[in-house]
Symmetry: C2
Subunit: 212 residues, 2 copies
């Protein structure tokens, strides 16, 4: 059984690879900000859980009708999105060092919730046979960094490109004291949730293993 | 600042590498079973937390006086050990498929505690300048696998070589529903605990980063 990943996130790709799955990654090309703005204009502010599901679903649906190397998609298509919620606000990628530093000074020694959304479409024999989705949340508790550590971490550039200005699977790992939830949710793709969804579509999990 | 890893565990090495540290790995050559047996004969049964600390310390101390490429060790020496406690018993590596299957049938859908021990020796300028250690624990909650999944997982060989017959960082990731604790503790080396110990020895954490 083939898995198609409707995401360009290196962390999601790496999470799947570590779990024995080499997906076919396809850039979904969804204008996330426009979709969120249009949805909120129509029906009011989105909770973090709703936002990640909206975007995960949009990514999967943007990809499912495409062709890969001239062939239609034949397998399961996974869309994923994530958001970090702390202090009652959703925080995205800081992009700039000063924004990342302000984020760290605010969350240092504190905690937040990482929401990951998942949407899985079963597309085989040229048609959609089913679709399921679920958001999952994990609480992240940060260590108390001194300012030199924060500056050194930000100087690596790594925190600039991730929601909440932290990573758990690379340089930021030692700065996470504790997680309550599925650790892969923090990386942006809950493997245990994905397994649930795969099974809900009637597919055996081990049938996805395609890495030696 | 150089880090020496007194362990041959590929998971500990990979955990450090992901966090930006390429250690010098040295096989400690400690007879773990004999050391535990002698200690328990002298002073009674060890708790899981005591056992992992005993072995982590023995590994670091076995390595600290050695030479690497004709040079004495100059930096921090880390010893590590881990044990899985569930149903009131410590479970090691199953080695055999039938033992791994019995373990999974017992823990399926349940939970256990992964204990990781750490001992860190500061050895610079030809002498021991300090040593600190701490054990850390993380609770692991398993998904409910069906028997075909258990058989397929065991057939890969991966669960045979790890305490508790599960991995979180490879094929077993989707079979972990939830962790309460530092996720790297589950892999056998708590990065947040190691950072604490490094700082207790007066060393800056970012000074250990040596991977590009």
């Amino acid at each position: 059984m083939r898995l198609y990943l409707a995401s360009t996130s290196p962390a999601r790709l790496q999470t799947l690879r570590a779990a024995g799955i080499e997906p076919i990654a396809i850039s979904p090309g969804v204008d996330e900000e426009a979709l969120v703005a249009a949805t909120e204009a129509a029906s009011g502010p989105l909770e973090a859980s709703e936002m990640v599901q909206l975007l995960a679903r949009a990514k999967a649906e943007a990809v499912v009708g495409r062709q890969v190397d001239g062939e239609p998609i034949d397998g399961l298509v996974l869309g994923g999105d994530s958001a970090f919620l702390t202090g009652g606000r959703i925080h995205g990628k800081p992009h700039r060092p000063d924004v990342a530093k302000a984020r760290w000074l605010a969350q240092n020694g504190g905690h937040g919730d990482l929401w990951s959304g998942h949407w899985l479409i079963d597309h085989r024999d040229g048609r959609v046979r089913g679709a399921v989705g679920r958001a999952d949340v994990a609480t992240v508790r940060f260590a108390a960094l001194d300012e030199r550590e924060i500056d050194a971490y930000i100087a690596t550039g790594e925190p600039l490109l991730v929601a909440g200005a932290f990573t758990i699977d690379s340089l930021g790992g030692p700065f996470i004291r504790r997680v309550e939830g599925d650790p892969s949710t923090v990386v942006g793709l809950s493997l245990s949730t994905l397994r649930d969804l795969v099974r809900e579509l009637g597919v055996d999990w081990p049938s996805l293993w395609n890495r030696g």
